[in-house]
Symmetry: C2
Subunit: 389 residues, 2 copies
Amino acid sequence: MSKNESMYKISKFAAPEFIFGIDSIDYVKRYIKNFSLTHPMVVTDSGLLSASWAKNIFKQLEGIDIRYSIYDKVSENPKDYEVEEISKVIINCNCDSIIAIGGGSVIDAAKAGGIMCANPGSIRDYEGIDKIVHPMPPIICVPTTCGSSADVSQFAIITNTDERYKMAIVSKSLLPDISIIDPKTLTTLPKELLIATSLDALTHAFESYVSLGSSPITDMFALKAIRLIFETLPKVAKDPKNINYLEDLMLASLMAGMAFSNASLGMVHAIAHSMGGYKDIRHGTCNAILLDSVIDFNYVYAAYRYDKISESLGYVLEDLNEIDRKKILIESIMNLKNKIGFNITLKDLQIKESEIDIIAKHAVNDPCMLTNPVMPTFEEVKEFIARNI
Amino acid sequence: MSKNESMYKISKFAAPEFIFGIDSIDYVKRYIKNFSLTHPMVVTDSGLLSASWAKNIFKQLEGIDIRYSIYDKVSENPKDYEVEEISKVIINCNCDSIIAIGGGSVIDAAKAGGIMCANPGSIRDYEGIDKIVHPMPPIICVPTTCGSSADVSQFAIITNTDERYKMAIVSKSLLPDISIIDPKTLTTLPKELLIATSLDALTHAFESYVSLGSSPITDMFALKAIRLIFETLPKVAKDPKNINYLEDLMLASLMAGMAFSNASLGMVHAIAHSMGGYKDIRHGTCNAILLDSVIDFNYVYAAYRYDKISESLGYVLEDLNEIDRKKILIESIMNLKNKIGFNITLKDLQIKESEIDIIAKHAVNDPCMLTNPVMPTFEEVKEFIARNI
C-alpha cells in the first residue's frame, strides 16, 4: 500500500427523499396515502393560508377524504413558545403527521414542533448538535421560498425569546420524510423575498464550501449552486415571474441545502443567528449583509477554497496576489447585490455599541462557528461587528 | 406568470445515509449501537471471509459484545436460491439485522435476502419496479469494490436460475439504512476486478446521464463521475495500490451510484442482465464490453446528451458533424479501455447464434430498457447482438 495520506476526511451524508419539479405539489396526496397517514396538522403562516398553494393542499386532502387540522400562527422568525404551541396543538388534535407549507420559518417551526411531540422538556434543551433522541411524526415539507432549504436540512433555527438569539438545532432527526419542491410556488413570492431568500441560499453554498465539514459531495453541490445563483438571480430581478428562472433558482437553493445540511456553515450564520434573533431581522437579509465582510475576515484561512469559488465563476487568478484574489471575490458579490438592487448594509440595522457584546457572545457559541475556517475569539467577533456597523 | 414551459421534468431523489473515507469501516460498531441492534447476520463471500475487512468487522462486533451469524456462500452472480437461503438463515438464527460486506453480488444478495425475510412468496415475485411492500430488517453495507453501488442504490440484481437471466428488482425499499464506504477496502481488490468494477461505474454514469429518467441532480453526479473515472482509471491501472487514486475511484463509483439509482439505466444494462445471466458472466465485464456499441446504437436518439459528455471530457465539438461527434465519444471509451488493458469483446463471450433469441427476449423486458433513450424492438436487439458477436 502506498504511503500517501488520504485526500479526503471521513464525511457523512444524509438527505431526505425529495421530489423536484413544476406541479410536484400535486404529489402531497400520494405521500399521505403511501405513508398511511390519517390526520395531518398543516403548519403554515397566515399569509400563506389564503394563498393558492395551501388551498391546493387542502383540496388534495379533501379529495382523498383526509381530515386535517391547521396551525397558521408561525411568525417570520419562529419563537420557542410557538414551537411549544405547535407541539401541543398536534398532540391535542390527535394528529399523526405534519405537512409544513411555507418558507424556512414555517418549516423550522413545524420540524421543531414535531420534535417536541416526541421528546421531553423544552425546545431549548435541544440546541446544538445531535441532542434529539426520539424521531418526530412523519412530516411532509412543501417549501415556498428559494433559500432556507429547511425542507432538506438537518437544521432548525428557533428564537430563544428570553435571551433573544436564534438557537441552531442540528440533528439527523430533523430531516423530513419527504420534501416536495415545486418551483411554481415561487411565482407568488414578492420580488424582495425572492432576492433575500436567494441570497440566503448563496450564503449556504459559500459557507458550506469553505466549511471545515465540507466533502467532495457537498463541494459539488455548493459550487453548482453558486454558479447557478450568480447566473440566474440578475435575470430573476428583471423578470421575477419567468418560470424557467424560478426553476433554476429553486434548484440552486436545493443544491445549496444539500451542501450545508451535510457540511454545516460558518461565521455568517453564527452572527446572523445572534444578530437576527436580537433584532428580529429576516435571516436571508442578515446573511446577505454579512457575506462579503466575513469573506474579508476569513479569506486568509481558506484562500485556496475561496479562490476555487472565484475560478468556478470564471475568474482567472493565475497572476494575482492574495489581496487581489480576495478583492475579486468580494467585488463579485457586491456587483451581484448591485445588479439585483440589494443595498442594505449592516449600518441600516442600527446595531448599538451597547448591543455588540451580547451579539458577539451568542455568535461565538453558535454551532455554525465550529466549522468556520477559523474559530474567532469573542474579542475578534466584537471587533468585526464594531468595524461594520 | 410567464408562458414558458418547464425546463425540468418532475424527478424523485432518494439516497441512503452514507459515510465516506479512509478508515470509515471502523464506524460499523457505532451504527450497531445507534440502531440498537443485537444480532446481525454478516453476509459475505468465502473469499472475503478470510480477508482483513471481514475480520475487522467481526473484531468490532466482539469488542462491543455483539453476537453475530455469518452467511458466506454468495456466488459471483447471486442466484435466486441463494436469496431464499439467506432469508431462511436470517430468520432461523433470529438475526435482527444484516451487515453486508463485499461487492455488488454480496450486497444485492443480502438486500434481496432481507426483503424475503419480510415479504411472502419468492424473490421472483418482486422483479420489476416498486413491487416490494414491507421493509427489510436494518442493513449496514460495506462495499469492497468500486462499481456496483448496490450500497447506495434502489436496485438488486438476482439471477433467475430457471430462465437463466438476471432479474432487476427496483424499489426504494432496497436502499440500505447506512452505507459505510471505505476506499481502503480497494487495496486488496485484484487489479482485474478494480478495472471491471470501475468500468461498471462508468457505465452507470453514462447510462444515467442519457436516461429518460435523468434530472439536474443525477446529471451533476453522472458527469462528475465520468470525468473522475476517465482521469483516474489509467493511473490506477499503472499504480493499483495508490490510495489517493483509489479514493477518487471509490468516490466516482459512489457518484455514479447516486446518479443511476435515481435516473435508472438503459440498454447496456438490459442486455448485460440478460446475457450475463444466461452465460454467468461478470456484470462489470458485460457492461464494459457493450458500452461503446450501445452508444453507437443510441447516439441519434440522444446526440445532445452524448455530446455534453464529450464536452465535459474536454472535447470541442463545434465544427463537427454528428457522425464525427459520435466517433469522438466512442473512441474515447476505446482509448480508455486500451490504456487500462481491457481488451475483451463480445466475440470473446462465445454467444451462439441460437442463443440470441432468448437473450434479446429478456433484454427487451428488462426494467432498465424503459429509460433507454429509445425503446428498441425485439428484432432490433437481435440484430444488435448478431452484429456484435
